[in-house]
Each structure stands twice: as C-alpha cells, then as structure tokens.
C-alpha cells in the first residue's frame, strides 16, 4: 500500500498498513491479540524503517562528515539525506534549518538554553517574561522553569477553559512587551486539543517575542508546514512518528540559528579549535555536538518517506474519522467523562477520560489483561490533571494503523472494567 501517489479522500487500507508493522501481529497474555492504543506515548515502527536501519548498519556504517573513505561518504550521504527528507516533510525553506537532537525534550531545552545565553534582542533575563500554557507536556514546562530560575525571568502561562481549550481571553496581558518567548503545544498529548496558532503567533509578533511550537503530537498525524505556522522554532520527536527512539528534531529560522550561541560543545560543531578558543561551524552543525544519531536519522528519513507515501492528509482524515467514531462510542459507556474537547473538531486522535471512581491505573491494568494497551497517569502533563481536579486519566490514542474494531474492543474492555470494580 505504499505504492502509488497518495490520494486525499481515499480511505486508508489499514489491513495492508498493519502488515507493515511486525509488532501488531503480537499476542499478549496467553494469546490475546494486541490492541495498541498508546500511540501518543510512542508509535510502532514499520518494517520499512527497521530495514533502512539494518541496511545502514550492515552495509554503510561509519562516522560521518570527516572521512574520505567509501563508508564514511555513504554514511554522510545517508545522514544528510535524512536531513533533506525531514526538511521537505515540514516544508522548511532550507535544509540547514533542521537540527537533529535526541528527542523533542532536547530540542526544547536547546532553545531555552540558547535564549539564556543569547545577546540582545533574544536574551532572556530578569525583567523579561516567558509564556507557556497549562496544557504543556513537562518537556515544555520544566526547561522554562529552569531557565526562569537561572535567569530571573518570569514564567507566565495561559490557563484552560472547562472545555479543554486555551483561554486566550486575556492574551494581551499574558503576552506583553516584556515577553521574549512564547512556547506552546500544537496538539495536546492529554486533551487532544489542536491549538489556534495564528492568534498566538500574531500577538507574539506584535510584541517581538519568539515563538516555539511543540509539534510532537502533530508531526506524526497531520501535514506540518513550518512556513505557514510562522513560528521561529518547531520541535518534534522521531519515535512518535514511525521513527526510532533516540532522535528528535528542532527546526529553527536560519537567521536565528546564525545569531544564537551554541549550547553543547564538542566534535562536529566546531570550525576550528585551539586550546584557548574555538569558532563554530554554521548551523545546523553548530548545534549538533558529538557523533550524531546517524542510524536514527536514517530511520527517521525512512519514516517520513513511509508517511509521505501514504499521505499525511489521508492519515489525518483517517484519524479524524476514527476520533469521531470513538467519541460516539465512548459516550455510551456509563460514568465515562472525556477530559478535553468532546467533539471531533480541532482535536487530534488522543482521548483522555475518567471512568467513575475507578482509578486509571486499575482501568489500564484490567484493559491490559484483555490485550488492550492504553496509557494511564498524568501523561507527563500533571498541571492538566491539577486543573481539572483529577489525579490521572486513562488515555487511548490512535494512529494510521488503528481501526474501528479496536475502538470497539476498547469500549467492550471498559464495560468489563466497570463490571470488575463495580
């Protein structure tokens, strides 16, 4: 099913797609078919991605960039080729704007640290402000808390409405002339909410603040165009988008990457080194200290090829339809309360909920016994739980290989859970 051009509107052939993912054949707990609904935590990998990495290690591996031998040149071409692929995938104006990191968390920390070390006009220091939101993943909270502590800057945030959306009603008071950076999530990993980029970017631009968009839950699921987002930085992570663990991406606007100081020092990121001083290579290398995640970049490149061959539009449509179906079906379960938008508009395929008084840990465990893998807890976004006064949620999250039959299995599983603890 990865042949031919993807055509929007034509539904995905999930049966064929599932054959690409070896793990989906697995059974758990004495022969129960695996129903994997934990895609917001990490996606599974198609054979195409695993093959690309094996082929890399079995035929082409060497360290990149400095070698004149065949393997070094092949490895470099594959690594830099992956950068080209990722650049095209997010419609980056230049391949040099794509920095490979180890995960989205490092991408965000990289920006936070650069801004703490930068010169004016970017410098975050006391007297300046950082703006995030209450629905961020810890990886988009803690780096800013650390930056605020280290620099004396003030951390502010947008709160949430009861419907699970950003409360932008006081946007002009939250984002002010003192704001240096606004960092927010495109799609929430708990609520599923798709946030209104334009309103936030417009206000940030008005006051001259930079914008970082955490696209970790968007890049895997919908077309992503860094130019139309109009942000300054976009971060995402490989393992959630059919790619391997150990790789993340930071896209940044070229002028910024030129102006901002390096963060980690080491091999690859230098131009010339003496014992007393060094100069740095141009971006992206300036921000890639040490041997990069070569095989992982190759794997991520294969992942974006795979996703592109299916078509991001079609994947988004598939997940949208599945979300609509799941919202309907879950509404049938007594005591189930969705945490986040309850209609399929402007939301991703991530559904968090509570089930009466039954603790999510127990929901998850009993679902697991039936072969259904969901995530339970605060999903690394504890402030969301605090906001809604709940200790934790159960979260089911879909991907291109998810099916309505799996939604049905979830609903049946939840009925069983209710019986068990009822």
């Amino acid at each position: 099913m990865t042949d031919g051009r993807p055509v929007a509107g034509v539904p995905l052939d999930t049966e064929a797609i599932r054959k690409d993912f070896p793990i989906l054949d697995r059974t758990v707990h004495d022969g129960k078919r695996l129903v994997y609904l934990d895609n917001a935590a990490s996606s599974q990998k198609p054979r195409q991605v695993l093959d690309a990495m094996s082929d890399y290690y079995e035929r082409h591996h060497a360290n990149v960039h400095r070698g004149v031998h065949v393997l070094a040149e092949e490895a470099t071409a594959l690594y830099e080729g992956a950068r080209d692929k990722v650049a095209r995938f997010v419609n980056a104006p230049s391949r040099d704007e794509v920095i490979f990191t180890k995960n989205a968390s490092e991408s965000i920390n990289l920006v936070a640290n650069m801004l703490g070390l930068a010169d004016e006009p970017y410098r975050v220091d006391s007297g300046t402000e950082i703006v995030i939101t209450e629905m961020e993943h810890h990886s988009n909270i803690v780096p800013w808390q650390l930056l605020a502590q280290r620099t004396g800057a003030k951390l502010k945030w947008f709160g949430l409405t009861d419907e699970g959306r950003l409360d932008l009603s006081r946007i002009d008071e939250v984002i002010t002339e003192r704001t240096k950076i606004v960092s927010f999530v495109l799609v929430s990993n708990v609520l599923g909410t798709l946030n209104p980029v334009e309103a936030i970017v417009r206000r940030a631009q008005e006051v001259g603040a930079l914008v970082l968009i955490d696209a970790s839950q968007a890049a895997p699921h919908m077309p992503l165009d860094v130019q139309s987002l109009q942000a300054d930085f976009v971060a995402f992570t490989g393992h959630k988008m059919c790619g391997p663990t150990g790789i993340g991406v930071l896209w940044g606007r070229q002028e910024l990457l030129e102006d901002l100081p390096p963060f980690l020092g080491g091999g690859e990121m230098i131009e010339t080194v003496t014992m007393s001083a060094s100069t740095y290579a141009p971006a992206p290398h300036k921000f890639e200290a040490g041997t990069p995640p070569i095989a992982q970049a190759v794997g991520l490149g294969a992942a974006v090829d795979y996703l592109t061959s299916i078509g991001m539009e079609r994947i988004a449509e598939h997940e949208h339809a599945l979300t609509r179906y799941a919202l309907e079906r879950l509404a049938e379960v007594p005591g189930l309360v969705i945490v986040g938008p309850t209609s399929p508009e402007d939301r991703g395929a991530t559904l968090s909920f509570t089930l009466g008084d039954i603790h999510p840990h127990d929901v998850g465990q009993v679902l697991d016994e039936q072969g259904i893998a969901v995530r339970v807890g605060h999903h690394c976004a504890r402030p969301v739980c605090l906001r809604y006064g709940i200790p934790a949620t159960t979260r089911a999250s879909f991907y291109l290989y998810s099916t309505t039959a799996e939604v049905d299995a979830l609903v049946d599983g939840l009925e069983y859970v209710r019986g068990f603890f009822g």
């Binding site: 603790h359 999510p360 840990h361 127990d362 605060h378 200790p391 934790a392």
Partner: protein, 152 residues
C-alpha cells in the same frame, strides 16, 4: 493480581480518614499520581493509630487499608518485621510464593504477592508502607526504624 482480598479492602477501607497523630507525612508516587497523607500515633512503642487520606488506585488504597489493619495495636519491632517482610515480597518480582511463616506475618497482605510481578504497580503497593516508616521515624527518631535493617 486483583485478589478478592484486595478488592474488598479497596471497596471497604479500614481506618481511612485523618485523625490525631504524632507525625504526619505526605508521599507521592510520581509515576501515577498516587498520593497519601498519613499520620501515626504511638503510645510508647505501641502503634495506637495509623490514619490516612489519599487518592490512588485499588492497589495503593487496599494496601493502606491492610497496613492499618495489620499494624494498629502492634509493638514497633513486630510492625517493622511485617513491613520488612512485605517489602521483601513486593521486591521479589513474582519469585517468592509466600510460605506459611510468611503468611503468618503478613496475613491479608499476602494477597499482594501477585502485584510483585508488575514493576509499575509495586510502588503503588509500597506507598503507604514507605509513608508509615517515614512517619514513624519522625515520631520516634530515625534509628528506631533502621535498627533492624542490618539484620542478616
């Protein structure tokens, strides 16, 4: 892992609620958001009360209830022996099948043996026990709870 004993304690917890105490601690299980606030009250070496409030899964709630049932009224050394035995069982990764001696010490708490196979849930089962040990250390002094740790 959901033994009837566990479900019973979950549905009808013993001694839940916060009452007067000599020391209070608040413990959190960061991986799942389970929380417990626990107070101990001693009369000499005797555990006069263990009161608690918390939110969490059936395992953490049932375990606090079992703790209350087992420890209240015991002398500290005996209680520490129960605690150590329970810890040993929970850290066994499903390798220990409780024998009669262990059952005698742990009573209802042997029902948690199955939980030890689930690393993510072991912390839930231990939350109240760690909180109790900590609260006791605050009430009676650190050395009262560590004294026995060096035993072979």
């Amino acid at each position: 892992m959901y033994q009837d004993v566990i479900l019973d304690h979950y549905k009808n917890p013993h001694g839940r609620g916060l009452r007067e105490g000599d020391a209070e601690v608040h413990h959190v299980n960061p991986t799942c958001g389970d929380e417990i606030t626990l107070r101990v009250r001693y009369e000499g070496e005797t555990i006069a009360d263990v009161s608690y409030e918390g939110q969490g899964c059936s395992i953490s709630q049932a375990s606090a209830s079992v703790l209350n049932e087992l420890l209240v009224g015991k002398e500290l050394p005996a209680a520490l022996e129960v605690q150590r035995t329970f810890l040993e069982l929970m850290q066994s990764r499903g390798q220990i099948t409780p024998d009669d001696a262990m059952e005698e010490v742990l009573e209802d708490a042997v029902a948690f043996a199955g939980v030890s196979k689930y690393p993510a849930r072991v912390k839930c089962a231990l939350l109240s026990w760690m909180a109790w040990k900590d609260a006791t250390a605050q009430a009676l002094g650190e050395d009262t709870v560590t004294a026995g740790d060096e035993r072979p």
